[in-house]
């Protein structure tokens, strides 16, 4: 018998017994839905974390030299935390030594940050992150200056009171008025606004636009950092490979400057985007390992249900099998008919599962900031899963049908 005839018989059975068929393919449907949806969420999350989290918060090809890591994966013990707190901060001498001796081409910026209040025209904006940074910071962070300019190296060197404001600060404090050229008061001193940074959006609901950047040596520096020290020293290389060699160089220079013995651990940290992602990577690895197990369980349950349904179908259609055998169906014809039927049922289940999975992914994309995208391989895996579950769990019922004796089968009622 030809394949298309067997498929036609199977589709006909599904059509005529809609409810029963629906329940029988539910297991495969749920398994495949799960597969598609979880893969698309995890991959969306990957993109989100890399794009937004790591590259916005740390920067592409960038690392930050710090007293201690700022993104911690896993639990940090009390003792570890205290040891970190005892470490010396990064000082100017160390930073300028690195800047003048690093062989790998790179750009640098010192950085401190503190929450402060901004005042303009009698209005106050509280809890604004005030960054004190060197001019290259704008390039390192890849900020889009939508109005005005960044501060010049001269302004930075002189520590003039100029400011570049984040989108939300511009919007909230100046209420639609053009902030350029306006004077905003920070820590009792007026700063002239010279530029505005385009909107960056949020990450996990936290605004990325509630900040203002002033030259590192601006007067406010005293309130943001202790004298001679900085929170972070940002180093951006040209690409990922040169960043790797810069990391090695910086570590060595720091160890030499701090006179660390070979047995001693680094008493500083170098935070990369990669490092910031470590926590997420652990979660995503776990999800991807757990996924086959979860999908496997529902698919096996679904397969057993299909096997059950097929055994019932064989029992119900014993006379039909007898008729087919009397008319010349060989064992393999009957076997093929029932195996194809169960494969068709489970493939239809997988098909609906793929549709709901894709639907779910689009829903997540529409309703959350996650760029959930359906992975083509997960769709292919869903189809293969559907076909093979049906084939595998269809074999036993089908072989029972194929072995039926035609006389007994014809007599069955």
């Amino acid at each position: 018998m030809m394949l298309q005839d067997a498929v036609k018989i199977a589709l006909n059975t599904i059509r005529t017994q809609k409810l029963k068929s629906f329940f029988s393919l539910l297991g495969v449907l749920i398994g495949v839905t799960f597969l598609i949806a979880v893969v698309s969420i995890v991959q969306g999350m990957n993109v989100y974390m890399e794009d937004k989290f790591a590259n916005k918060l740390v920067g592409l090809n960038t690392f930050q030299l710090r007293r201690m890591p700022n993104f911690n994966s896993g639990n940090v013990t009390e003792d570890q935390w205290r040891a970190w707190q005892r470490r010396p901060r990064i000082n100017y001498a160390e930073a300028s030594y690195i800047e003048s001796h690093l062989k790998t081409p790179a750009i640098f910026s010192r950085f401190c940050s503190e929450r402060m209040s901004l005042i303009w025209d009698g209005k106050t904006a509280k809890d604004i992150d005030v960054w004190t940074a060197d001019a290259p910071m704008f390039a390192i962070k890849n900020f889009d200056i939508e109005a005005g300019r960044t501060f010049t190296p001269q302004e930075a060197r002189a520590g003039l009171a100029v400011a570049v404001v984040g989108w939300e600060v511009a919007e909230k404090l100046f209420k639609g008025a053009d902030p350029l050229g306006k004077s905003v008061t920070i820590q009792g001193l007026p700063y002239r606004v010279v530029g505005r940074i385009a909107k960056q959006g949020t990450i996990f609901g936290i605004s990325l636009d509630k900040f203002v950047v002033v030259p590192f040596d601006a007067p406010v520096h005293r309130a943001a950092c202790s004298a001679g020290f900085m929170d972070e020293f940002h180093i951006q290389a040209r690409n990922i490979t040169s960043m790797q060699s810069a990391l090695g160089e910086v570590e060595e220079m720091m160890r030499i400057q701090r006179r660390l013995k070979p047995a001693q651990e680094d008493n500083f940290a170098m935070q990369t985007a990669e490092g910031a992602l470590e926590g997420w990577k652990k979660i995503s690895r776990f999800l991807m390992l757990a996924l086959p197990l979860l999908v496997g369980i529902s698919v096996v349950v679904g397969g057993i249900v299909i096997m059950n349904i097929m055994l019932m179908a064989v029992a119900e259609r014993t006379v039909e099998i007898g008729i087919r055998k009397a008319l010349g169906a060989k064992r393999r014809d009957i076997l093929a008919q029932f195996v194809v039927e169960s494969a068709t049922i489970s493939t239809v289940g997988a098909g609906i599962g793929i549709a709901t999975g894709i639907g779910l992914a689009f829903l997540i994309r529409a309703l959350t900031p996650l760029p959930a995208a359906v992975a083509p391989w997960s769709v292919a895996a869903g189809v293969i899963l559907g076909v093979s579950v049906g084939l595998f769990f269809g074999i036993y019922p089908a072989s029972r049908a194929a072995k039926l004796d035609p006389i007994t089968a014809l007599r069955a009622e």
Binding site: I323, K325, A326, G328, A329, K330, I407
Partner: protein, 234 residues
């Protein structure tokens, strides 16, 4: 002896039922020629169903030989028997045994599906067979939309579609009223007139009277084998 369609020698068939062995056939020998119209009769338990299953290649004998259309089928394995059933035998059952969810045309196509005939040729030959039994206008109907007589005619069309050596009918009128029974008998007679070999199992003497030759079984043996001149001439 190419004229012989069926050649049966000392056929026996015994079943083991629990601790007992039942000898359903105790040595049957008979020959049936091309274009014969034979009725097999006998009371229940006479072995006529067993003989009919053996002739129809649904079962294999315990001992003895059975030659059908020049090939010995008594020692054939399952799949070879399936092939013989498909090519050489056209079944007509008491309960019609049509597939309920398939149309008349699809039912008639079934033996051709297993013969590996392509879809277009299948449809053409099935249409022709249905037209031959007078159901050219009912091809799209399902069995439950047809009367008993029409259903049996669909079954006859299905039996004939692959040009079998024998048409094997098991109580073909058992589920039909007498008017419809006569109608089916007329179909058989016209097929016989066109050259078809027909073997019919029945327990009704007036149905058996349509056949040219009547074989009566009793206790697993042939009790009588008579040819009537009137029908043989027809």
């Amino acid at each position: 002896m190419s004229d012989l369609v069926i050649q049966i020698r000392d056929l026996t068939r015994s079943y083991v039922m629990g601790a007992e062995t039942v000898n359903a056939l105790r040595g049957v020998s008979l020959e049936i020629r091309r274009n014969e119209y034979v009725a097999i009769m006998g009371p229940s338990g006479s072995g006529k169903s067993t003989l009919m299953n053996l002739i129809g290649c649904l079962d294999t004998p315990s001992t003895g030989e059975y030659w059908l259309n020049g090939q010995e089928v008594s020692r054939m394995p399952d799949d070879a028997l399936a092939r013989v059933r498909n090519r050489e035998i056209g079944f007509v059952f008491q309960t019609f045994n049509l597939l309920p969810r398939a149309s008349a045309l699809q039912n008639v196509e079934l033996p051709l599906v297993y013969a590996g005939v392509g879809a277009r040729e299948r449809r053409e030959r099935s249409r022709a067979a249905l037209t031959r039994v007078g159901l050219g206008d009912r091809m799209g109907h399902r069995p439950n939309e047809l009367s008993g007589g029409q259903r049996q005619r669909v079954a006859i069309a299905r039996a004939l579609v692959n040009d079998p050596a024998i048409l094997l009918a098991d109580e073909p009128t058992g589920n039909l009223d007498s008017t419809t029974s006569e109608e089916i008998m007329r179909v058989f007679e016209s097929l016989h007139a066109q050259g078809q070999t027909i073997i019919m199992v029945t327990h009704e003497p007036d149905i058996a009277a349509h056949a040219a030759r009547v074989i009566v079984l009793r206790d697993g043996r042939v009790a009588s084998d008579t040819s009537s001149q009137r029908n043989a001439a027809a």
